[in-house]
C-alpha cells in the first residue's frame, strides 16, 4: 500500500515537472519576452526606460540567461507562490487565481459527481432493457450529447432559458451575491446557479459513460458465471446486481480519475461562454491579450490540480477496495 502511494507520488511529481517544462515552452513561444511586453505596456502609459534600466530589469527577471536559467527562475518563483503580475489586470496572478480557483474546483467536482450519479443508473437500465423504448431514448440523447460541442449546448441552453423562462444562465451568482462576502445565502445561491454549467460540462462525459456502462454490462450479462448463478436458483434481479453489475461497475469506478482532465477541459470552454467567475475566462483573456505568464500559470495550475485530483481519487479507491489496483495492473 505505502509502496504504491510512494510510487504514485513520484510519478505525479515527475509528470508535474514535465508539465511545467511544456508550459514554459509555450510561454516562450510568442515572439518577444515578458520584459518587452512589460516595457511596451509601460511605454504605452507614457513611462520611458533607458538602456541601463532595461538591462537591470533583464537581470532582475533572469531574462539575460539561457532558456534553462529563465525556466529555473520562473519555476522557483512559482513554487514560492510568486506567479508574477498580470499586465492586464495589474494584480498579482496569485490574487487573481485565489478568487477563481475554488469555484473552478467546486464546479469540476460537482460535474464529476453529476456524471457518475446520472450515467451509472442509466447505463444499467439501458443494458437490462436493451432495445426498449427507454434504451432508445437514452441512446439518442447519448449520441447527441457526444456530438454537440459543449459551447453550443451552453449557447442553446442559455437561449432557451432566456427566451422561455426569462432567466439569465450566465454566471454563478445572482447580482446581489456576486461581490458579497461568503455567507450561507451565497452558498445556496451558488447551488441554484451551478446546475446549468454542470449539465453542460457533464453532458459529453455522461453520454460517454452511459455507453461504456451499458456495453460492459451487456458483455458481462452473457458470461458463464451469470448462468451459474441462475442455475442455483438465485432471483434474477438479485443475481444481476450481485454479479454482472458489480463487475461491470468496477473498471468504471476505478477509472474515475480519467474523467477529470476532460471535465477541466470542458469547464474552460463552457466558463468562457457562460462567463463564469472561474479560471476559464481569465485564461481566455490572458491568451487574447498575449499575457503569456498569466496564461502559463493558469494552465500549469489547472494541470497540477487535475493531476492531484486524479492521484487522490486513485488512492481513495485503493483504500476502499485493494483489489482495484490489482485489477488495473492486470
Amino acid at each position: 500500500m505505502w509502496g504504491y502511494v510512494l510510487r504514485r507520488v513520484s510519478y505525479m511529481l515527475l509528470t508535474i515537472w514535465a508539465l511545467s517544462f511544456v508550459v514554459f515552452v509555450i510561454i516562450q513561444l510568442p515572439p518577444g519576452d515578458y520584459l518587452s511586453t512589460y516595457i511596451s505596456s509601460q511605454q504605452a502609459q507614457g513611462n520611458t526606460f533607458d538602456d541601463a534600466a532595461i538591462a537591470a530589469l533583464r537581470r532582475q527577471y533572469g531574462l539575460d540567461g539561457t532558456f534553462f536559467d529563465q525556466y529555473w527562475k520562473w519555476i522557483t518563483n512559482f513554487l514560492q507562490g510568486d506567479m508574477g503580475r498580470s499586465f492586464e489586470w495589474n494584480q498579482p496572478v496569485t490574487v487573481l487565481l485565489a478568487e477563481r480557483l475554488p469555484l473552478t474546483m467546486i464546479l469540476s467536482i460537482s460535474t464529476l459527481i453529476f456524471v457518475y450519479i446520472v450515467a451509472i443508473p442509466i447505463g444499467i437500465y439501458s443494458a437490462l432493457n436493451q432495445y426498449s423504448l427507454g434504451d432508445y431514448v437514452f441512446s439518442t440523447i447519448g449520441f447527441i450529447g457526444l456530438a454537440i460541442p459543449n459551447f453550443m449546448l451552453a449557447l442553446i441552453l442559455m437561449y432557451v432559458l432566456f427566451k422561455y423562462f426569462g432567466l439569465s444562465a450566465g454566471g454563478l451568482f445572482s447580482d446581489q451575491y456576486a461581490t458579497a462576502p461568503w455567507s450561507l445565502g451565497k452558498v445556496l445561491d451558488l447551488f441554484q446557479h451551478l446546475w446549468v454549467p454542470v449539465i453542460v460540462i457533464g453532458m459529453a462525459g455522461t453520454a460517454g459513460l452511459i455507453r461504456v456502462m451499458r456495453g460492459s454490462l451487456l458483455d458481462e450479462l452473457g458470461k458463464q458465471y451469470v448462468v451459474t448463478a441462475r442455475a442455483k436458483g438465485v432471483r434474477e434481479r438479485r443475481l444481476i446486481f450481485k454479479y454482472p453489475v458489480r463487475i461491470a461497475i468496477n473498471p468504471i469506478v476505478s477509472t474515475i480519475g480519467w474523467q477529470l482532465p476532460r471535465i477541466v477541459s470542458g469547464e474552460t470552454i463552457v466558463a468562457i461562454v457562460l462567463s463564469l467567475p472561474t479560471t476559464g475566462p481569465l485564461l481566455y483573456r490572458a491568451l487574447l491579450s498575449q499575457d503569456m505568464y498569466l496564461a502559463g500559470s493558469i494552465v500549469l495550475t489547472l494541470g497540477v490540480l487535475t493531476l492531484v485530483g486524479t492521484f487522490i481519487s486513485d488512492i481513495l479507491l485503493v483504500m476502499v477496495d485493494p483489489r482495484i489496483s490489482f485489477e488495473k495492473k492486470a
Binding site: 456530438a147 454537440i148 437561449y159 450566465g170 477541459s265 494552465v299
Partner: protein
C-alpha cells in the same frame, strides 16, 4: 472457441448459434462488409458523410454566392423562403420573392418583408459569381442560382450581408479535412510509438508508456488554447491551418498509441507470432505481415471514432477565436457571430454551422459504431 474444439477427430465449430457455413470461406474484410451492410443506420451515415466530403471538396460549384460576397441590402437577413405557388395560388415552380428591408427605429433591427409582385425563379446550373476552383481552375458555374435580381439565402446572412449557406459550404473544407489530417498525423505518431512500445516492451515500453500517461492525464483544452494563442498572428491561413492540426495531434496521438499498444501486447502472445519468430522472421516482417492485418479493422474503428473529436476541437478553438482565423472560414469561425444570447435571439440562424458540426460528428459516430460491431469477430 473453447477447449472442446479439436478433441474429437472430427472437424467441428463450437460457435453454436451464430456461424453460417458460407462465412467460413469469406475473408475478414468481406465478413466485415457483410456485417456492416446490415447496420442500416451506419450505412446511411456513411453515405451522408461521403456526400459531405464530396461537397466539401467541390464547394465552389455548390455555393450560391461566393464566400466573401457582401450584400449591403441584406445585412442579417433571415433565411429566404422558397415558394412553389404565387400569391394567387398559381403554380410557378420553385421561386423566391423580392425582399425589402426597413430599419425598425425602436429596436434598431432590420425587418425584412417579401414583395410578392417580384418573382424570381430558381435555376439549376447557372452562371454566377466567378471562382477559382482549388485556387487553380477558373469557373463560374453554380449548381443553384436565381434568375434576374433575386437573391437566395437559404440559411440567411451574417452582419456583413454574406450568405451563410455558401460560407458553411466553404467552411466544411477546413472543418472536415482538419479531422482527417489531424487523425492521420495522430495515427502515424500513435502507430509508430504505440507499435514500438507494444512490440518491443521492456524499457522502451516503459518510457513511451510514461509519455502516454502524461499526455492523457492533462486537461487538453487549456493547453490547446495556450498553444494556439502562441501561433503568430501574421502567419498565412494555410500555415495556421497546419499549425492547428499539429497542435491538435500533439495531444491526440496518446489515446491511439495506447490502443495500438494494448492490442499489440495481446496479439504478441498468440502462437502464430511465436511460430513466426521461431521460423526466423524479422521484426518488420512480423509487425507488418502478421500483427498489423490482425488489428487493422480494430484500428480503423478507432480512427473513425477519433475524427469527430478533432472536428469538435477545431470548432471550439475557432469559435473562441484561437484556431482558424478569418478571413479563412471554418464552421467554428462562422459561429463566432453567435457568441452571446442576444445575437442568437435576434438571428437564430447563426447557429446553423453548429448543426453541421453535430450532424458530421453524429454520422462519424454511427459509422464508427457500425464498423466496431462489424469488426468484432464475436458477434
Amino acid at each position: 472457441m473453447d477447449a472442446a474444439t479439436g478433441d474429437l477427430p472430427v472437424q467441428s465449430h463450437e460457435r453454436e448459434l451464430t456461424s453460417e457455413e458460407r462465412y467460413y470461406l469469406a475473408s475478414q474484410w468481406q465478413l466485415m462488409w457483410r456485417k456492416f451492410r446490415k447496420h442500416r443506420l451506419a450505412v446511411v451515415a456513411a453515405l451522408f458523410l461521403t456526400m459531405l466530403y464530396v461537397v466539401a471538396a467541390s464547394y465552389e460549384f455548390w455555393q450560391i454566392h461566393s464566400t466573401n460576397a457582401q450584400y449591403n441590402d441584406y445585412l442579417n437577413a433571415p433565411p429566404s423562403t422558397i415558394h412553389l405557388f404565387d400569391a394567387d395560388g398559381n403554380f410557378r415552380g420553385p421561386f423566391v420573392y423580392g425582399v425589402e428591408n426597413e430599419l425598425n427605429l425602436e429596436t434598431f433591427t432590420r425587418e425584412y418583408a417579401e414583395d410578392t409582385s417580384k418573382i424570381y425563379p430558381l435555376r439549376f446550373f447557372v452562371r454566377g459569381d466567378s471562382y477559382k476552383f482549388w485556387g487553380l481552375i477558373e469557373g463560374d458555374l453554380h449548381f443553384l442560382g436565381v434568375e434576374g435580381d433575386g437573391k437566395l439565402f437559404p440559411l440567411g446572412t451574417d452582419s456583413l450581408g454574406r450568405d451563410l449557406f455558401s460560407r458553411i459550404l466553404a467552411g466544411s473544407r477546413i472543418s472536415l479535412s482538419i479531422g482527417l489530417v489531424g487523425v492521420f498525423l495522430s495515427f502515424a505518431l500513435g502507430c509508430i510509438l504505440g507499435g514500438i512500445s507494444g512490440y518491443f516492451g521492456g524499457p522502451v515500453d516503459l518510457v513511451i508508456q510514461r509519455i502516454i500517461e502524461f499526455l492523457i492525464s492533462l486537461p487538453t483544452i487549456p493547453l490547446w488554447l495556450a498553444l494556439s494563442a502562441a501561433v503568430p498572428a501574421r502567419w498565412p491561413p494555410v500555415q495556421v491551418y497546419f499549425a492547428i492540426t499539429v497542435i491538435l495531434s500533439i495531444f491526440g496521438w496518446a489515446g491511439l498509441a495506447r490502443v495500438v499498444r494494448g492490442k499489440l501486447l495481446e496479439l504478441r502472445e498468440y502462437d502464430y507470432v511465436t511460430a513466426s519468430t521461431l521460423a526466423g522472421a524479422t521484426h518488420a516482417h512480423i509487425i507488418f505481415s502478421h500483427l498489423l492485418p490482425g488489428f487493422m479493422s480494430y484500428l480503423i474503428v478507432h480512427l473513425t471514432l477519433a475524427i469527430p473529436s478533432m472536428i469538435l476541437a477545431e470548432t471550439s478553438l475557432s469559435f473562441l477565436g484561437l484556431g482558424i482565423r478569418p478571413p479563412a472560414v471554418s464552421w467554428g469561425t462562422l459561429m463566432q457571430d453567435a457568441q452571446n444570447v442576444r445575437s442568437i435571439a435576434v438571428q437564430p440562424w447563426m447557429l446553423t454551422p453548429g448543426l453541421f458540426v453535430i450532424a458530421a460528428v453524429l454520422m462519424f459516430n454511427f459509422v464508427g459504431d457500425g464498423l466496431r460491431d462489424a469488426a468484432d469477430p464475436y458477434r
